[in-house]
Symmetry: C2
Subunit: 324 residues, 2 copies
């Protein structure tokens, strides 16, 4: 990022008000205050400081500039010609400073630029689009990069300029802040065709006899189920014939009768409703997965991120309630 000399944009030349003269903005503001108050004592009162302090600041300014700004005695005060010029220029300069601060303050308060979010495929295509739409409605001028990824290496993306991500599963990276949004139920499903000619399993233990599909992001060769009423747990050893990292691919395979699978309820609701899939042993479920909004820990957050966090906090509970 280093710029060579030809690109340097820092104003060059010797500074009249060198470092070590205290806060130069404050000196200029004090000078303006003195002029407008009409004497040093009144200026001190308006500035909330003492008359000697004001006197010293004026002298510091005059010394640094090498100019007499105010001709003053114990009872008279008038601007010199240099003082008049300085007064006019200082007003312009400090007005510029005020604009500078105002613009930065606006940046701090009004979202601007591009928000970059990673969301898992499972949510990014429908469930979170509602809040996203409302965010864009509320903030004209904002743009959003909505990146669908299931990659767990979220910290890499964030160091690459991503503002935040929706993460399913435990958040273990200490460099990230995790805002819990809810949980996703994970249920056991199979196609009716898979069950044709077989006894429908009445208990979790019977599931092991069936062919399995693995969503290897979440489970591979072993499944842990918990009884929703008694909270008993049963661990099953399975030998999946099919393994994927896509919930949708798993759904498709299950619908085709290739095997039993465990997936998030909300992604399977439609297939269950139209009979393409049936839930097996409904009282047994895999551990629900926490869903979190995660972003890097930092001292300050851009307004665009803060506004998004506020929105997701407000609506995320409804998006990921325990029924889902």
């Amino acid at each position: 990022m280093a710029l060579d000399d030809s690109q340097s944009k820092i104003p060059s030349g010797t500074l009249l008000l060198p470092p070590g003269t205290g806060d130069r903005i404050e000196l200029m503001l004090t000078f303006l205050r003195i002029v407008e108050a009409g004497n040093l004592s009144a200026a001190a009162a308006q500035l909330g400081t003492t008359q000697p302090t004001v006197s010293r600041r004026l002298q510091t300014l005059e010394r640094a500039l090498g100019l007499r700004l105010l001709q003053r005695t114990t009872h008279t005060m008038r601007l010199t010609q240099d003082g008049e010029r300085c007064y006019e220029r200082a007003k312009e300069l400090l007005a510029g400073w005020a604009r500078f601060e105002s613009e930065l303050k606006g940046a701090r308060e009004e979202p601007e630029g591009t928000l970059r979010v990673i969301v898992p495929h499972a949510f990014g295509q429908d469930r979170l689009v509602g809040p996203l739409a409302r965010y864009l409605q509320q903030h004209a001028g904002m743009t959003v990069e909505w990146l669908l990824h299931d990659d767990r290496a979220i910290h890499d993306y964030i160091s690459a300029g991503i503002d935040c991500a929706i993460q399913v599963g435990e958040v273990t990276d200490p460099g990230l802040v995790a805002i819990p949004l809810g949980q996703v139920q994970r249920i056991v499903v199979a196609a009716p065709s898979l069950l044709a000619g077989r006894d429908v399993p009445q208990d979790a233990g019977e599931l092991a006899k069936l062919p399995w599909l693995a969503l290897h992001t979440y489970y591979r060769n072993e499944v842990l189920l918990e009884h929703t009423v008694s909270h008993k747990r049963k661990r099953l050893q399975i030998k999946p014939r099919f393994s994927t990292d896509s919930l949708y691919a798993l759904r498709s395979a299950a619908i085709r009768g290739l095997g039993v699978g465990i997936g998030s309820r909300w992604a399977l609701t439609e297939a269950l409703a139209n009979g393409q899939l049936v839930q097996l042993v409904p009282e047994w479920q895999a551990a629900p997965l926490p869903v979190s909004l995660v972003y890097p820990y930092a001292r300050f957050y851009p307004a665009r991120l803060r506004r998004f966090i506020d929105l997701i906090r407000a609506e995320g509970g409804a998006l990921f309630d325990s029924a889902g």
Copy 2:
């Protein structure tokens, strides 16, 4: 001079960079330097300070602004979006500051505005006009108020905004700086018509018999003459029939034969040359008067005054050499 609220021109509103955050200009300059150097250590080297100092200044700025300006680790650094905006705005602001300083520096180095000078009538009408003309030739844009006064209360004028004065006579006001320019010889003259039918005085003592004119600014009822060779002194009691504060009025009266007078040689040279006046007892003269450029003691002087002082110092000796 106090302005009421409606006239106040100080930029209003809460300052993002409040007093107490150190020199705000320095913080901004440090930020720009970091961006252009590419890392904090290089910026520290270029700023002639230490890396921890640069780190703290950057953090002070970020804390005061409530914005993250630079995303940085031990080996990477990149501007955030807020940082990019701040960088652009800071350059503009500091360029404005540099112009501000440049203009003030110009004021310090280049004469500008109106120089106000008091000169005695005796000199202001011809002898000093030469240097004045050269001053105006050398400094385009300057204007000069050339005030002819013989009033000895120069300090009053100076408190009224006069930059300097040419003063004839001893300078006793401790608040003034006096630059000696030379001396003016004061000689005894009379009209030939006054001497008609009389013996021409051969010695200073014989002058008392003649009628006298007084230049009451310098002498009234007593005249002290000194012999230019033996340095003997003679004090004469005189009874002037005519008294004035104007050297020219005294000259006119002397030419008309109204009496003997003492005046500055250079103002009488022409009348002497064309026979209107003659010098009496040439080896006896009144004490010469010092001529000084005076101005109020001050910590700083505007450039227009400093340039004028330099010019008068350089040429004043020739203007008021001991022959005159």
